[in-house]
Amino acid sequence: MAVRANPNLIDELEHYGARDASKCYQCGDCSATCRLSGDASVFPRKAMHYLQLGLEKPLRSTLDPWLCYYCGDCSERCPRGAEPGETMMGLRRWLTAQYDFTGISRFLYRSWASELAAILMLALVTGAGFLGFGYILGGGNLSVYDGAGAFLPAHDVHIFDWTMGITLALILSINCLRMWRFTMRGEQAAPVSPSQYVRHLQLLPLHFFTQKRFRDCENKRPWATHLVLMLSYLTMLVLIMFFLKEMQSGPKVNWYVHSFGYLASIGLVTVTILDLRGRVKKDEAYHRHSHESDWMFLILLLYVATTGIVQHVLHRAGLPMAANITYVAHLMGVVPMLLLEVPFSKWSHMAYRPLAMYFAALQQAAGKGS
């Protein structure tokens, strides 16, 4: 089957951060230097060329960008400055937008002003919403933080969390389904039997929790920091979704719950600061280029982590009003971050990446690499 080229694709990808791919002249140094690239999927070289040629459909159905963890060796080695690592990053953003059925992802990635406006708008709505809720339906008294008559009762926030969580999970699931359709049901994909799907299912939790593929890169540091960030994030998520009541109780420290929160907070703040510092200093190839969405993600994450810590400390320090205000400010960061990042932006790779490993293994088992 012939593939129709879309000559505008390379221009489109510029919005997603792949600005140098046109310089590639297909020497293959990138793939030769990459520890993860293999016979089954030769990346970044193949994806670079497909992008240059505007082969949109095959690119949409490739898993290659998700198999790369961006150690940056390829970009260091590239003789033309074509930034294959950043091109793969750009393709991951583009694929995220392709998988997203709402079109919001594309909108946010293509315009940083829109993304910023969306964050600010959601923050204001959230702030106003929680303040209104606190005064009208909640405790009504800003100086009560926990227990009976709390300004924002843990029970109500919990319901809000779960409603939002289920909605986001639903959207992300649909996007994951689209990813499956593009990559596993395309013209080039080999048919995979249901039993195969079951047999390889353990790959999903394996890659999700260990990210062991990342460890195969020569530089182990990015794997370590990435793992710490992911586990901290995950810990925090579990605490909020299941232990919100304990988290919000006090002012005594509940060590069974809070100790996890402290560890996760340390992890989040440390790695976020390290990452921000890396992106400013640009010492490593993988930090040399930053898309606007990278900055917003990191800044939001740092903001959310710090406000979370501060409201906790204020609560313990016996300043419930300040704690409540900080709590609202914290939620003003949490809601836009989750709403925008989980199904439409960077956060979604927590789902796409393990899925890609799983699908790639299935394809290979079915006798055909991606």
């Binding site: 129709r4 080229a5 505008n8 390379i10 046109s22 590639c24 297909q26 193949k46 497909y50 040629l53």
Partner: protein
């Protein structure tokens, strides 16, 4: 022959010869031949001590003839001729026996090789006994030059020669100077205007007192020989004219490949498929549009049209890759939103500044699709909903995908081929052409501007596809070659040539038709052939072909040949 004393010198050539051939046995065997006064073997005969040995022997032992058994005469005949001349002998009293290329290098069996070397030395000794002292002669060298073709190569040479104070006759078939460069817009890789490049030169050529310019004119005949040609011209006014020129420079250029010969490209059938020269003229007019007057959004450039192909020309036309890159930038600067796809077989943009040009094109997001030489792209008319004029189908080699490329304009990079009149020109000036029809140079590396005919030179793309700087270089190199000859004032005529013994000649003309150099004239009045010794290369065709045995080749007489045969037996 009793008073003759022959010296035989057997060279070891380091171990090149002595490794296989027993050189002492060869020398000992030579010493036994009647007439041989001395025979020696030595490590390197061509070295200064080796030559000195010969020189001293000739003087002290009063040798009259010399045989050197060593390498091919191509290698060192001139060396040893000069050596015996320094010793007071006529240089033609030398023979060489090739016991290296024809013996030691090609045989393993030492005994048989030695036997063969002995036979070759015997043959040379027998032959040298019949060598005669010969003297070379000189003829006058006319300082003026005829230049055929007013393109960049011809103009470069004409200006160089005229600036050196010599008369130039510049003959151009068209009504203006500039050749194919006149058809270009910008030039690769620096994007200089072709018009500006030409303007300074055409103005100088037209005004130069040393250059007589003949526009709309062509060469109709060329008589004479090196240093003494008489070309006849037909000028624009229909006059015929005879000139005198010492040298002839052929700089007649090339023509472009006819794209209609490749049926599947549909050139001439689909309206928006154009050749590179048609694009040049669009760019010159500043009007880049499809036949229906729209601005093209997608432009596809197909490389190697007629070049590097089994069916058409096997050679690479050398300038098209860089030119195609130039187009990508020119189109991009005219239409910044246009996408340019280069369909190439191999990217061969090799010259100075071309790698940078390639890079610039990549950065300008030109896409490069590699097609296989035996699977040419196929151009189809687009369907209504396609949003483009055409669809180009390529089996892209690096991705392995069959790709449909939308295109509003397809540019065919037509290669270079010899002009239709190249055969006629070659016959007129007596030079040869290769299989494709390009003029052949005297030596591909060491003498790339001369031809096998003395006094006739070639420059520019009539020899092979060339870019502008290369054509200018070759034009100027030819001028330097001609000026060196002019500076000598006269030409040397080799002492070795054929002679007609008029008493025996019946004027049958057999030799005239056999001679590959055009060195024979028939004197109609006396009914005899005459050989122009300056043109004759002593190949011997005439002598071998003459039914009356009336032709003698100096330095390869029947006596010498028969004696040599006797010697080898």
């Amino acid at each position: 022959m009793a008073q003759e004393r022959i010296g035989v010198y057997v060279c070891c050539c380091g171990t090149n010869i002595s490794r296989v051939v027993d050189v002492d046995a060869v020398a000992a065997s030579a010493l036994a031949i009647p007439g041989v006064g001395i025979a020696r073997a030595y490590k390197y005969m061509c070295s200064n001590p080796g030559q000195k040995t010969i020189l001293d022997d000739v003087r002290k032992q009063e040798l009259t003839r010399v045989v050197v058994a060593s390498c091919s005469p191509h290698m060192h005949e001139i060396t040893f001729r000069a050596a015996i001349q320094r010793a007071g002998l006529n240089p033609y009293m030398l023979e060489m026996a090739n016991i290296r290329e024809q013996c030691s290098w090609i045989h393993d069996d030492a005994a048989a090789a030695t036997e063969k070397a002995i036979a070759l030395v015997h043959a040379a000794v027998e032959r040298v006994k019949f060598n005669e002292p010969l003297e070379s002669r000189t003829a006058k060298m006319c300082a003026s030059t005829l230049v055929l073709g007013g393109g960049v190569a011809g103009m470069a040479a004409a200006l160089e020669l005229a600036d050196a104070g010599q008369q130039v006759f510049l003959v151009e078939k068209e009504n203006c100077l500039g050749g194919n460069v006149r058809r270009l817009n910008l030039t690769a890789p620096y994007l200089d205007s072709a018009r500006d490049l030409l303007q300074s030169w055409t103005a100088r050529v037209e005004r130069h007192p040393g250059i007589r310019l003949f526009l709309n004119s062509e060469l109709t005949g060329l008589k004479g020989f090196n240093g003494n040609f008489t070309p006849s011209l037909r000028t624009g006014d229909g006059e015929t004219l005879e000139l005198e020129a010492g040298s002839v420079l052929v700089a007649t250029g090339y023509k472009e490949f006819d794209a209609a010969r490749i049926g599947q490209y549909g050139y001439g059938r689909l309206p928006n498929i154009i050749t590179s020269f048609e694009l040049e003229s669009m760019l010159r007019r500043g009007k880049l549009e499809t036949k229906s007057g729209r601005q093209p959004r997608n432009v596809t450039i197909i490389h190697c049209v007629g070049s590097r192909s089994q069916q058409f020309h096997s050679y690479c036309s050398r300038v098209c890759c860089a030119t195609a890159l130039k187009y990508a930038l020119e189109i991009k600067s005219a239409l910044p939103d246009a996408h340019i796809a280069n369909l190439y077989t191999d990217m061969e943009a090799f010259g100075k500044g071309c790698e940078e040009l390639y890079r610039k094109c990549s950065e300008a997001k030109t896409s490069f699709l590699m097609y296989a030489k035996d699977r040419l792209p196929v151009i189809c008319e687009a369907a209504r909903g396609d949003g483009s004029e055409m669809i180009v189908n390529v089996e892209e080699q690096l991705s392995g995908e069959a790709i449909e490329m939308p295109a509003d304009l397809v540019v065919l990079m037509v290669g270079m081929e010899p002009r239709e009149d190249s055969k006629q020109v070659a016959r007129l000036v007596n030079i040869s052409r290769d299989k494709a029809g390009w003029f052949i140079e005297s030596h591909p590396k060491l003498d790339p501007v001369a031809t096998t005919t003395d006094g006739v030179y070639i420059a520019g793309a009539c020899q092979f596809p060339k870019d502008i700087p290369e054509s200018v270089i070759q034009g100027r190199a030819a001028a330097a070659r001609i000026l060196a000859k002019v500076a000598q004032g006269e030409i040397n005529i080799d002492a070795v040539y054929s002679e007609v013994q008029e008493k025996l000649c019946a004027g049958c003309g057999t030799c005239f038709s056999l001679c590959p150099y055009g060195a024979i004239e028939i004197d109609e009045q006396k009914r005899v052939s005459r050989i122009i010794s300056a043109v004759c290369r002593a190949c011997g065709c005439c002598a071998a072909g003459c039914p009356a045995g009336a032709i003698k080749v100096r330095h390869s007489t029947d006596e010498q040949i028969f004696a040599q045969i006797e010697g080898v037996l």
